[in-house]
């Protein structure tokens, strides 16, 4: 992988690649905005080293939808680090999201953060 990492990310997590995510949302639907909010929150908490999140509105960029084979909304694609993982839903099941993304699971913390 030839991705250039910011120096502070390399310092904090030298073995890990920077997290690259693509989230497909449908405009400003309640489910989509809830999902976006939760994802940001989770990543900010658990991956402080930094991450790239690309948000695709399916109505704005339908060709992206077609090329990526997206059906469900919201869909989150973890592009990097490999392997590519696909998550769907509004991230209610936080431990599952974190495990799939390879993020550390908060120990005593409750899964739900906010609505």
């Amino acid at each position: 992988m030839s991705t250039a990492f910011p120096p502070e990310a390399q310092e904090r997590a030298p073995t890990a690649e920077r997290l690259q995510l693509t989230l497909f949302v449908s405009g400003a639907s309640p489910t989509s905005s809830r999902a976006l909010h939760r994802l940001r929150d989770m990543c900010d908490r658990s991956f402080a080293s930094g991450y790239d999140l690309k948000v695709v509105d399916i109505y704005e960029q339908p060709d992206e939808v077609v090329s990526r084979g997206v059906l469900a909304v919201p869909t989150l694609i973890k592009e990097l680090p490999l392997p590519v993982r696909v998550l769907i839903g509004d991230f209610t099941d936080e431990p599952r999201v974190l495990a799939t993304l390879g993020l550390p699971t908060p120990k005593a913390d409750s899964a739900t953060t906010e609505g």
């Binding site: 469900a72 909304v73 839903g89 991230f91």
Partner: protein, 574 residues
């Protein structure tokens, strides 16, 4: 519209309900024009029944024949697989995609998707809308919706999303084919049919005694009547082809031209001219009755007229037929060499019924023969139901009739359950000949009669069908005291009759002669008697004369004596 809707109670509905022709031969006939235009239809059935093909054919025909571009959305195969899978058919998906008349959107559903909460399938509609807009689609096919249930494992949600999708398709006025897999006891595994109430088509692929037969049924067609039967269909080079027996138009051109059967005696039985060109001829009989030989005679006669012949043989190889026919003086080899006659020999078990049909039609189209022989059709029917057989034959007969090709089909009778199918078949053909075995006097002989022959005077007699080194002939049988006489009994009867006739002539001559002789004898007798009589008469006359002379003499004497006495007596006084 076709004759499928003879008893159409919704004539009004039917006439205004717009329909989208699928271009699938037969299907548009049974539905009176195709699928409901601008609405989604469900095509369901078990795996491998031909659902995807139905969907694709609907799109390809739409793009190529009806100027209606289409979108094919599949969850089942990769795009390349779709193209490859229809490669054997005459579908040019790449070409159509290049022209922008078709779009294949193959979406492999990821099995390892992690479900983390609430979601919807808004992107499904987005991508469909994107594709529809891109090609200006009027038609859409989604193959197959069950995959969505499998991929997301949330039946309620998927169902709700599909309802939304169907509504959207309807709003957009897209004529859509949705395919679904048959479930246990339901049309589709997840009850999608509940939301697709406009038109439901059920495909089936049943294996009956090792032979697969495909069937199609229009289960439901809101606002329109339709053929309600189960129709056999086949998959040929052009894709699906439904065989709508009941709606087949009976309007083919007929020929009054007659062609020889190749057997003089048989021609004679058929009004002296043979069968109609382009008619269906059925030759039935039990094993070893010479059905193939009759068929070969037809072929030979056609070749003699310079007409090309296609001979389908399902029991004998070409060389066997040549050898067997050579034994009765028919040289078919020569016709093969000259290119007029072509054989196609194949074991009946190599394909299913519908494949055979498709293969035959393909060859017939290629060769464009004037006469087709199918020997025997009954072996194709092995394992199929009576319905299938008569359906297949009906299709074949009508197909050939429409093309003006004379069809000679042989049927082996006496094969148990086939009897019924043969009864059905014989009503389809124009001329039906039956070879029967006439046994008696220690022999089995072949008798041939015309079971029926439409539109011509024909003999009602059973005649003896003879196979010899010099060929085939049909001769009148002799009716003896014990019934119909054939074979050596006939020959014996014939010669006895001949002898008898000769005897009668002889007898009358003898009698006449005897009479003549008797007359001569009688005449001779009469002559003798007369001669005797004459002799006697002469003698008697002479005797009478002599006697009279004597009497006169006596009288003269007495007179003389008296005179002397008178002179003496007068003196003495007395």
């Amino acid at each position: 519209m076709t004759s499928a809707e003879v008893d159409d109670p919704d004539e009004e509905l039917h006439s205004w309900l717009p329909k989208s022709p699928t271009g699938i031969r037969g299907f548009d006939e049974i539905t009176g024009g195709g699928l409901p235009a601008g609405r989604p239809s469900l095509v369901c059935g078990p795996p491998g029944a031909g659902k995807s093909l139905f969907a694709l054919q609907f799109l390809v025909n739409g793009a190529t024949r009806y100027a209606e571009p289409g979108v094919f959305l599949t969850f089942e195969e990769k795009r390349d697989d779709v193209v490859v899978n229809v490669g054997s058919l005459e579908f040019d998906l790449d070409g159509l995609e290049g022209d922008g008349r078709l779009m294949v959107d193959a979406l492999m559903l990821e099995p390892q998707v992690v479900d983390t909460g609430e979601f919807d399938l808004a992107a499904l509609m987005v991508r469909l809308a994107w594709a529809v807009e891109k090609v200006g689609a009027k038609r859409v096919a989604i193959d197959n919706v069950e995959a969505l249930f499998a991929a997301f494992n949330r039946p309620a949600l998927v169902r709700a999303e599909l309802m939304r999708l169907f509504r959207w398709l309807k709003d957009k006025g897209l004529t859509t084919v949705i395919t679904g897999e048959r479930g246990a006891g339901t049309l589709t595994r997840h009850g999608v049919e509940e939301y697709l109430s406009d038109c439901v088509v059920v495909l089936d692929d049943r294996v009956v005694q090792d032979v697969a037969t495909r069937r199609l049924r229009v289960l439901k067609y809101r606002g329109s009547t339709h053929g309600r039967n189960e129709y056999p269909f086949l998959i040929g080079a052009e894709g699906l082809e439904v065989l709508p027996i009941t709606s087949l138009g009976l309007n083919q051109e007929v020929s009054a031209d007659r062609v020889s059967t190749g057997v003089a005696g048989l021609d004679e039985m058929l009004g002296g001219k043979g069968v109609f060109r382009g008619s269906g001829v059925l030759v039935s009989g039990s094993s070893g009755t010479g059905k193939t030989t009759i068929a070969a005679c037809f072929a030979d006669a056609a070749c003699r007229r310079g007409e090309s012949v296609l001979f389908f043989s399902f029991e004998e190889s070409e060389s066997e037929i040549h050898r067997n026919m050579a034994s009765i003086g028919l040289d078919l080899n020569g016709w093969v060499d000259s290119g007029l006659l072509q054989f196609h020999c194949e074991r009946p078990t190599t394909r299913g019924l519908e494949d055979h049909l498709a293969m035959m039609q393909r060859l017939i189209q290629e060769r464009a023969p004037r006469l087709v022989v199918i020997d025997p059709v009954s072996s194709l029917a092995r394992g199929a139901t009576a319905f299938d057989v008569s359906a297949m034959l009906m299709r074949q007969v009508y197909y050939l009739k429409a093309a003006g090709i004379t069809a000679v089909m042989t049927v082996l009778t006496g094969e148990g359950g086939l009897q019924e199918s043969i009864t059905n078949i014989s009503s389809l053909v124009d001329t039906s000949l039956e070879v029967v075995i006439l046994s008696g006097f220690g022999e089995r002989n072949r008798g041939l009669y015309v079971l029926k022959s439409r539109g011509m005077a024909h003999s009602n007699q059973i005649r003896e069908f003879l196979l010899s080194d010099n060929g085939v002939d049909v001769v009148p049988v002799v009716i003896g005291a014990d019934g119909v006489l054939t074979g050596s009994a006939r020959i014996a009867a014939e010669s006895a009759e001949r002898a008898n006739a000769e005897g009668v002539i002889l007898e009358s001559e003898e009698l006449a002669q005897a009479l003549r002789r008797r007359r001569e004898t009688v005449d001779a007798h009469v002559a003798t008697l007369r001669a005797d009589f004459e002799a006697e008469e002469g003698l008697t006359q002479r005797l009478i004369q002599a006697s009279e002379q004597r009497q006169e003499a006596v009288r003269q004497d007495r007179l003389a004596q008296g005179l002397r006495r008178t002179v003496k007596g007068s003196d003495q006084g007395s």
